[in-house]
Symmetry: D2
Subunit: 302 residues, 4 copies
């Protein structure tokens, strides 16, 4: 059984559907979804990690490192696409009152201004809640702007799709399981971690990043985050290319473990875009093995 | 006249009040608030830059660099504190139905479970909207969880305050004006910029950070952000200690201008916490002047 | 009047001849030659800086920074080529006793073993002294291995030339004048300096080198040298590409002046090989000017 | 049987005596001494590595990497101290003609000018040769300036000692054996290597040095050296603190092996000064083991 950060009908729900078509449990918060994994109530949970519509990034990172260790098992990237949905029988020309979440309204402002210039737009608590409300036969709202999954779930009719002003935006989710379970290496993997820094000086971040650079490990995301314990101190949330079982990544993790007061390994998993990194000369597993063999040979009489 | 990212009654509104008690214009989006500055409709606008409750960070950074240049004039940090507000005559024991935004509900979950275990919690589009709804005499909701400014605005009674589960969370806002206006140096300043990187290799971020480190400039925040133009390419949103008129910062900006394909200077302004940086040996203005004088002397016959 | 580290007939003398055909003063040591420049007795002096035959490197660097400031005006690179020289009338087949300096003997060992297998080889104090001795009609030595200049000076006959075992070795000299006189920039220049480091930790040299790297300045030579004042502490003797009047070099020197307890500028001068450096994107004078103009523009209302 | 770079009576000979009192073989060049080790004619050879009096550094490094692999087994540091030696019966006041090597004459100039202002100074091929000459009863020279070992060897009388102008200069020698034999770790060790760099850009040396810095390995000497094969390309001769069997050194060597086109390991051996390095937090063997154990634990279900 899988869990997810609900309610049903959100982009998180849509992301979950790319992983399983089975029934899943919606949790009211990221923390509750992750705690359910920790307690064994669900085997895995899908939670947002970069989501400009419904939030959740900071929360997810904080929750991942807050309790018993968890490990990301995979990432799911889906386009941020909105549709406008109405009860059967309603045409676009009939729409007078639109209900949606404020962020969705902001992201579809141009389309609404062009296509429904006279309609009123009311903010709901969520896009899924807007679809649920519109589905009620006696609702005073004619249409909801929401994810397709919500339109389908509430039996609404799609009046238009991809009505967002900026095409190409994506939102990213992760599927989280218990620590110790590392998905097999695919050659197109990503590793996520959080590293705390010892000191707050101009070179401290450099020292952390050099651990990656000297081993040829590319970063694909970095974000400093204030630590809650000490004012003015920082930790870094980092995604890098490669897998725990790539030697360049394993040695980098060892290096971080030595120079940082604390490092959280949050998982190695296949990249959603399946792009294989360019491994620079010197950083393949074969080259790590050859180097270790050379050093071992130095102590042996030839 | 100042503007802000509305609606009235949000934390942004509360942040605005720390700057001015005069009337201000609420805008429906960060973009509209910033465009109003660009067009001269308002002299400055207050918008969220780190706000775990109402979002807005990414939007704000994207909008700051999207059109005519703007400059941050100051930052405002306020604690994320929620209260529960009801109509006059309602006691805490009477509350059966609570209305609030989903994020606020999540952040006050423990308090609500302990103090109102039997109350229903309904999600509104915003905490301010929840307060407005509760203020209606015929509302079917008994209380709203929202910022104090919203409770006051709608004439509600505060039943409890600081009901958030995690004390100490803060949210950060910036006051934005037109480019070219740089607040005077105070000695406890911060500079915000966005730097694009030329290449996507393990050392590219290092090269950017070394521009800061060799001039003794500490970073206080860094975040990589995918650029919208080219897939797989990144830019960095950075806050560093110091002011454009500190020589170490000016030389760092010059260095970034040379090694990055594009750099946006988003302002130098006093730090909200008024903490003065520790300037390491070699990086004061006096030491920059002495070094320049020494180099100039090398070409002169003694 | 020029001076040089004598005696006459050495490679230093040969280097001097590439600069002037006028008479010059030979000094018995590098220190005496340089002090003569300091005191105005000669305008310039030619001294060895990399010379595998006659030594002098360390001495020269130490002497350059030991007293009143001097500045290198140019470098002279000459091939290390030996000839074998005899009195008029002596053929190669007649040579029984060879006189030369020990280093020269070592560098021509193969040739001597092949061409004069039965000849005795005696060590003289210098190759020039060997030539002088062989020039005496009553000398018991038949031939000297020395620089061509010595053979010519003492009227000897060249029996063979380029008899050194390793072709391609070069020796490097500098022409030194008073500080403050910097030769004009040619675009193919070199700058020599000595930088002291503040601390003896793993990153201290890195901090010095980053001053060069962030400004795109290539090193062409680096050598750590123990400082005489404090046991276990080091300074670095460095040659880098570029001229004091290149902005990237000037800013690097300023940076070193700030982070090092002491820096000695020993001159900017044309490279002997006339090779122009590849200036990476971002590091030309034009790009320095553009960056400075951009930073200046940030404080002006547009 | 040991070998050394002769002739007898030099500082190298004096260095050898600190290692063994047994008879040893003098070789005419560093190459011959090292080749004798390679061929098993001697078990080890003592050769100069930093010697301001008699040269030999460059030659030694070049020869160490030129043929079958060798390994430095130890270093010997001895003070550069000169004495003045005469035949029995000669007092200092009697000395009219002094014979010595040019470098020795230069280093004792002040003492000679003060104590023997009227004596002539003639240059010999070596200080040892000068002593041999003075030992001849019919020599026209009264005294030799040389190492004490030479004075003793030729049965001369010491008229004065420590007559060098600069006290405190030292000269450094290494004892070289066959590769594969690594002296045991003492905790106060040094490792010598030569690393070639792939490219000739501003950051190439930095990349090499970062391999040391990220593993907390201090350098105690670095020298760039032009490579003979390709014009304008460089390699680096490096001494670092620590032993091949220190994990931080072994991992550094592995890193160099990967990023450099060629690395020569020239030995790990006890430091002559017996100074133990300060190992920064994170770089002890125990911390390497703990980091490796942590990384290994990440793949195991807890």
């Amino acid at each position: 059984m899988l869990g997810y950060f609900g309610p049903a009908g959100t982009f998180t729900h849509q992301a979950l559907r790319t992983v399983t078509e089975e029934e899943a449990v919606a949790f009211a918060s990221v923390r509750e979804a992750l705690d359910a994994v920790r307690q064994g109530d669900v085997t895995r949970a899908v939670v947002p990690i970069e989501n400009s519509v419904e939030g959740g990034v900071s929360a997810t990172l904080d929750e991942l490192i807050a309790g018993a260790p968890l490990a990301i098992q995979g990432e799911i990237v889906i386009p941020v696409e909105f549709g406008i949905y109405a009860r059967e029988g309603t045409e676009l020309a009939d729409v007078r009152e639109v209900l949606t979440h404020g962020h969705a309204a902001a992201q579809c402002r141009d389309w609404l201004a062009t296509n429904l210039p006279d309609a009123g737009v009311t903010e709901a608590g969520s896009t899924a809640g807007a679809a649920a409300e519109v589905a009620r036969p006696d609702s005073r709202y004619d249409a909801a702007v929401c994810a397709r999954v919500a339109g389908e779930m509430y039996g609404l009719r799609e009046l238009a799709y991809q009505i967002e002003d900026n095409a190409g935006a994506v939102t990213r989710f992760v599927e989280v399981g218990r620590a110790g379970s590392v998905p097999p290496r695919t050659g197109a993997d990503k590793t996520t971690l959080v590293a705390y820094m010892r000191q707050d000086h101009a070179g401290a971040l450099l020292e952390i990043l050099e651990q990656f650079a000297v081993r040829g490990v590319n970063l694909s995301r970095i974000e400093s985050r204030p630590t809650k314990t000490t004012l003015g101190s920082y930790c870094f949330s980092i995604d890098c290319e490669g897998h725990l079982h790539d030697k360049r990544v394993a040695e980098t993790l060892e290096g971080l473990h030595r120079v940082c007061p604390q490092v959280f390994f949050l998982g190695s998993y296949p990249r959603a875009n399946q792009r294989r990194p360019d491994i620079a000369v010197g950083f393949s597993d074969g080259e790590f093995d050859a180097a270790a063999a050379w050093v071992a040979s130095l102590s042996r009489r030839p």
